[in-house]
């Protein structure tokens, strides 16, 4: 319990620090860190390697460069590398979500975590943002996570509310109705 409280404090501290950097570097940094952190978090084996204290820091930095250099800014790569070097590999997703929450809160918005099997285009994101804002009555900031485990459709989480529009969920509901 005490460790959990301490870890929550660490998560909050790292997120606040990253928010300060993002404020200076631009809002896109938050999205990049968020996407990169959740993408890394989706691979358990990669997380195990990055969290392993026996693996040299240089090796871990090499892995991050290899994965993110072509897809993200240097600031994002540096931020992720810093968090892993600080021993927060297993908490990347928590820190990224907290960062997104703080960034959205700073702008009077809430984060909508959107999981989809493919990248959404700008039009879809705009329409989704508008639809979620209308449905929740809040100003929503959409964070898209490409998740191949989502089969058809989209799963959105706003706070504690989950709006599951995946084909998988529809079949599950169908099974429950027939069961």
């Amino acid at each position: 319990m005490e460790n959990e409280t301490a870890q929550a404090s660490y998560v909050d501290g790292y997120a606040s620090g990253l928010l300060g950097i993002a404020t200076v570097e631009g809002e896109g940094i938050v999205d990049e860190i968020y996407s990169a952190a959740l993408a890394i978090n989706g691979h358990a084996e990669l997380i195990d390697t990055l969290a392993d204290s026996r693996v040299p820091t240089e090796r871990k930095q090499g892995i991050i460069d290899e994965l993110l250099a072509a897809r993200a800014s240097k600031v994002t790569v540096a931020a992720i590398t810093f968090l892993i070097a600080a021993g927060q590999a297993r908490h990347l997703d928590e820190i990224a979500k907290r960062l997104a929450y703080l960034a959205a809160e700073a702008e009077g918005e809430v984060v909508a975590e959107v999981r989809a099997p493919l990248e959404l285009d700008a039009d879809q994101i705009d329409r989704l943002t508008a639809a979620l804002s209308k449905a929740t009555g809040l100003r929503v900031q959409v964070k898209v996570i490409v998740d191949p485990s989502v089969i058809g459709g989209v799963v959105t989480k706003v706070g504690d509310t989950v709006l599951d529009g995946s084909v998988q969920n529809r079949f599950t509901e169908l099974r429950e109705q027939w069961g």
Partner: protein, 189 residues
């Protein structure tokens, strides 16, 4: 003394007899007066002795005997009466016992009939319960099997449908589903 007196009477009698034989006729039949007197005196003496001593003892003996017999008769009568009373009591008891036995038999018969009826009633009720329960169990089992079968068929059908849908989900279909989701979400108030 009585013996001597008797001897004298006999001697006198013989003497008289001798005298009579000598006189002949009716005189032969009549005793001599002295013999008659002596015999009379002897008779009186003997009579008095008997009257004075033997008769009371005899009377006493007879009376005792009579009393004894009377007592025995009374005792016998009493015993007879007691026997009759005992016989009557015995007969009454036997009759009572017979009545009681008859009542016990009748009670036992009634009780047996009641127990028999109760057992039959219970057995019948239990049989009905078992029958009803069996019927309910059969119906429940049938419904359960039908529900299982229906669920299995539904699961199988949904699995097949899911596989078909998933296998046909190309990028265009995925985008169409995302658009459909956004449209449905936009319609929620």
């Amino acid at each position: 003394m009585l013996m001597n007196l008797s001897l004298n009477v006999i001697l006198a009698t013989e003497a008289t007899t001798t005298s009579t034989e000598e006189s002949g006729g009716i005189a032969l039949l009549l005793p001599a007066p002295e013999e008659l007197i002596a015999g009379l005196i002897a008779f009186v003496i003997i009579f008095m002795v008997v009257w004075k001593f033997a008769l009371p003892a005899l009377n006493q003996t007879l009376e005792a005997r009579q009393n004894e017999i009377k007592a025995r008769l009374e005792s016998a009568e009493k015993s007879k009466e007691e026997a009759a009373t005992l016989l009557s009591d015995y007969q009454a008891q036997v009759a009572g016992a017979k009545d009681e036995a008859a009542q016990i038999v009748a009670d036992a018969r009634d009780s047996g009939e009641a127990v028999k009826a109760d057992i039959e009633s219970r057995a019948e009720a239990e049989a009905d319960t078992i029958k009803e329960r069996g019927h309910e169990e059969v119906v429940a089992e049938r419904d359960r099997v039908a529900a299982d079968l229906r669920r299995q068929v539904a699961d199988l059908s949904i699995d097949v449908a899911e596989r078909v849908v998933v296998s046909n989900l190309d990028t265009e279909a995925q985008r169409a589903l995302v658009d459909q989701y956004i449209d449905e979400l936009g319609g929620v108030q």
